[in-house]
């Protein structure tokens, strides 16, 4: 069982979440101009990364908000939790330019700013050091 740190609610069991697949897959700017093959690749083709993988998660039983997570597909170590629409942080805490999501603005319904948050995970050794994105979990929300 993974303990996932929701940016809004703090650490919760994995069973409260739904997986949303690979993050940072941009919606095509002109879908009508794509060939069938390109459209199929946008819809169905995803990376099969061994190691750090940026993915989307939904806290479906809690606050019902989406967020991004950087997770190691081998060790399951959660390296970063960061809001939708913000670029993927690397292991050293630097952000690489976003390869594109539907919206480049930080999701207005996600609290905090763009810095990744890893509280509640065991990844503090590799944590981005500039984190000013604090979880607003109340007493009782964490375990």
């Amino acid at each position: 069982m993974l303990l996932i740190s929701c940016p809004n609610c703090g650490s919760r069991d994995e069973t409260e979440f739904h997986y949303g697949g690979q993050a940072h897959v941009p919606y095509p700017e002109n879908p009508n101009e794509l060939s069938d093959r390109q459209w199929a690749e946008f819809l169905f083709y995803r990376d099969n990364t061994k190691g750090a993988f940026a993915e989307r998660w939904l806290h479906s039983t809690g606050c019902r908000q989406w967020f991004n997570m950087l997770r190691d597909t081998v060790t399951y170590e959660i390296q970063a939790v960061y809001p939708m629409g913000t670029p993927r942080p690397d292991a050293a805490g630097r952000v690489t330019p976003d390869t594109g999501t539907a919206s480049t603005a930080a999701d207005s319904t996600t609290t905090g700013n763009a810095s990744p948050d890893i509280s509640g995970t065991n990844a503090s050794a590799t944590a981005p050091s500039t984190s000013s994105f604090s979880t607003t979990a109340p007493e009782g929300a964490t375990k």
Binding site: T61, C63, P138
Partner: protein
């Protein structure tokens, strides 16, 4: 289609004609409750209103003025008088009010919220039939919940007056700790029978003398 005459008393106005989601368990709740240890009951037909609004918007502030504030973050509960507002998400709240607050019984809560929202972005939706309310109370109530809830329910972590949307017995439930030994559980109506029976099963051991 044949027109049917309006009933003398409607289901809306005459609560004795309505059947609550866990009505079939009423007797089981009574026999399953262990006096002064852990007791379970259904508080049927509370008025519930779903709010979706940005707290910082004009509409959010108008609604906050009507309802006595909107809670700021996960776990927090606001409200004034009989009505409480539970935080469900950054822009999603659940108002819990007594049965009489419902429009159909002459209550003004929902119209006043609707009016406060005006044409601002958001929603005011009557969700009174969406969930039912269980009240679990007694010194063993925490031990009962701990059998199926992964949150830290110890009083040092979970203070009275906190409400969290989580899982209990593997189903989604809003859990509101209303007192030191009292919890309100809000399962969706279709889960009420399951959760009621799950709680009864979890309570059963406390009816027997403790094995030293």
């Amino acid at each position: 289609m044949a027109e049917t005459a309006a009933p003398a008393t409607s289901y809306e106005k005459n609560l004795s004609l309505r059947i609550s989601p866990a009505a079939q368990l009423r007797a089981a709740f009574e026999t399953g409750s262990v006096r002064d240890v852990v007791e379970l009951s259904e508080k049927a037909f509370l008025t519930m209103v779903g709010l979706r609004v940005n707290r910082d918007s004009d509409a959010g502030q108008r609604i906050a003025a009507v309802i006595g504030g909107l809670p700021a973050g996960c776990g927090s509960v606001s409200g004034s008088g009989d009505a409480s507002v539970l935080w469900l998400g950054p822009e999603e709240f659940l108002v819990i009010a007594p049965t009489e607050a419902h429009e159909s019984l002459g209550g003004g809560l929902i119209p006043s919220l609707r009016e406060a929202l005006g044409d601002g972005g958001g929603q005011v939706v009557d969700l009174s039939a969406n969930r039912t309310t269980f009240e679990l109370t007694g010194p063993r109530s925490r031990a009962v919940l701990e059998k199926g809830c992964a949150l830290d329910l110890h009083p040092r972590a979970l203070k009275a007056g906190t409400a969290l949307s989580t899982e209990i017995g593997n189903i989604p439930v809003v859990l509101w700790k209303t007192g030191e030994e009292t919890f309100r559980l809000f399962p969706r109506a279709s889960f009420a029978d399951f959760l009621g029976r799950w709680l009864l099963d979890a309570m059963r051991e406390y009816a027997s003398p403790e094995v030293p």
